[in-house]
């Protein structure tokens, strides 16, 4: 088992929470893991990404080789485009939220962005904010996206649930429940739409 995952978004959108959840789940399953993160300058509303590699064997590089990512998980549609060059053209999936984070003056038309994504052979585009709101809070939109990506991670769904419980227990049972629901809703969406 080996999955190379790019997680992308804008600084402050919670991509490290997604990475940490997958990472924790991978450790629960006894897998190897490397996770390269962006810190520092790029966090002020700029683009951020993490490279997450999980595998049943040892992992060499901290960076995913170009053109070999199995998965791009993006919490922002424009940001998902930034890593097209990383995606494996034969097998790679792109999972992204359709909710734009518009903090630049030249933000393209959403339609043009989605059209570029819809040209890929394998993708899931999800209105994560709406799905999250339906589950109780827009704050869980990043976990909705994770849920939408969950069928492609090569991990047991229960491991992801355990990981979320572990990560959010500090913040109270309400937060755990909300995020578990968000995860499930994301998963259901993908199962219905692929």
């Amino acid at each position: 088992m080996k999955k190379d995952i790019i997680i992308s978004g804008v600084g402050g959108q919670g991509i490290l929470t997604i990475a940490a959840t997958i990472g924790t789940a991978a450790l629960i399953e006894g897998l190897h893991l490397k996770q390269s993160e962006v810190h520092g300058m790029a966090q002020r509303g700029g683009d951020v990404q993490a490279h997450l590699r999980i595998s049943s064997g040892p992992i060499a590089s901290d960076l995913i080789p170009e053109g070999e990512a199995d998965l791009i998980i993006s919490v922002e549609p424009l940001e998902s485009l930034r890593y097209f060059n990383m995606l494996n053209t034969d097998t790679g999936w792109l999972i992204t939220s359709m909710n734009p984070y518009n903090n630049i003056s030249n933000y393209p038309q959403l339609e043009e962005i989605l059209n570029a994504i819809w040209k890929l052979p394998r993708y899931v585009t999800i209105d994560a904010e709406k799905v999250a709101k339906d589950q109780g809070s827009i704050k869980a939109a990043n976990i909705v996206v994770l849920g939408a990506a969950s069928p492609f991670l090569g991990l047991k769904y229960t491991s992801l649930e355990k990981a979320l419980e572990k990560m959010f227990s500090r913040k109270g049972q309400d937060m755990v429940t909300l995020n578990l629901k968000a995860l499930k809703a994301g998963k259901n969406y993908t199962e219905k739409h692929t």
């Binding site: 190897h32 993160e37 424009l78 485009l81």
Partner: protein, 543 residues
Amino acid sequence: MEKLLLLGDEAIAQGALDAGISGVYAYPGTPSTEITEYIQSSKQSKENTVRSLWSANEKTAMETAIGMSYAGKRAMVCMKHVGLNVAADPFINASITGANGGLVVVSADDPSMHSSQNEQDSRFYGKFAQIPVMEPSNQQEAYDMTRYAFELSEKMGVPVLMRVTTRLAHSRSIVSRTDKPLQQNSLRLPSSPKQYILLPVNARKQYNGLLQKQDIFEQDAADSGYNVFIDGDDKSLGIIACGLAYNYLIENFPDFKIPYPVLKISQYPIPADMVKKLVDEVEEVLVMEEGYPLVEELLRGLLNEGKKIRGRMDGSLPRAGELNPKLVAKSLGMEVHNGFDLPGVLVGRPPLLCDGCPHTDSFLALNEVMKKYSRGRVFSDIGCYTLSALPPLESIDTCVDMGASITMAIGAADAGLVPSIAVIGDSTFTHSGMTGLLDAVNNHSPITVFILDNSTTAMTGGQHSSALNRLDDIVKGVGVDPEHIHVIKPLRRLHEENMKIIKKEVEYEGVSVVIARRECVQTLARRMKLKALEKKKAKQTAS
């Protein structure tokens, strides 16, 4: 053995704690900041009272650590690569005094300049100081080598430099921790009483001692196990892979089995015998290193008349920027995969000042004042406020190194550019702006220094600023005329008022200081959250 999921930076920190350090001394800087932050929040560090407050700058950090080493205890100093420029004087001289308690200097390089002004390679500083350098290739090595570096430092009686780069510093993996951490040293002054008095008569002796140790350093690098020769059947090529480059190399081969002989380098000075063994048996050599072509240049020599040496200097690998698995594969003539083409609609998303950032209001006022002058007069410094170089603000004209705003403004004013403005953050001001301000006062320079006091070191994530609650007194103490020191609150509703003050001082032909004081909205939000949490806790325990 306990297993921990750690960033490369955190592995170094944990390694240092388990090596029995008594103190870490540092000034923040990406990608080194998390080393000190880990120690600051570690339980182990609190239990053992490991000293870990931020220093005013890298030079003071280095000197304080030298003092702790002098007193016999183990000390670590951490900084980003350009910080080592600031600390270069004590760093080089510490190689002459030698170390008593273990002294390890960590310098985190930033090839590709993700958040830096340059991509200088700290290994050259190790060579310059003629001390051993460690360059881990993964998180486990980062952990193990830190302890080894302390042992080496005490065994050889010299400081040891540890060099990491961004991708290791900020990448997480599992690290096995030792069951046998070292205890801290007890107080013990150097046995040789004149070692730290670098008068020429002593310094010459000390320097000779350092020169004599060079062969032992090299021998240790051959024996420690951190430099390894891995044989391969195909002798058409030999590979030297330094630090992180080794990972990118093996990434390209199934089961990590390389057909060519490989020399993995993680400790310097490079053992000549190991290099000779490799070079002798292969037809040509490919050198992979993150940063400058240090090893490659050594191997080539000035005349480059020996075997063919490939790497960054002949274009096999790019001359600048960080390596990655694909670049390494290409240099080996291997087939590489391409992903999908980047769509035409993609646009960049540069970092911005946060919504509500105090710097924005400061610059809006300054911009309006500067409208009536020709452009090119605003000398800035390094911090969040440097982002004001970008649209929409486009307020500043320079950013060179920490502290350079004030001193460059003095020089430009001397040249006739009057008025000249310096813009500097509170943390940068106490890092290296204070001395420049003293120059300005002594020089009667017609400059206005705009100190943007957001009461934190924001750029690197909101660390404690040495300037906190001291700024006004420092400015007065340096000798700025109190009539020309103003504190304003950068808020949209005070725009007119603030502008008037700035305008008046910009027109004044002497040294003036305007302190714009309002807390960074990020640290403010964090403080409020913590406060609310504490309140909630207190309530719970009370009921």
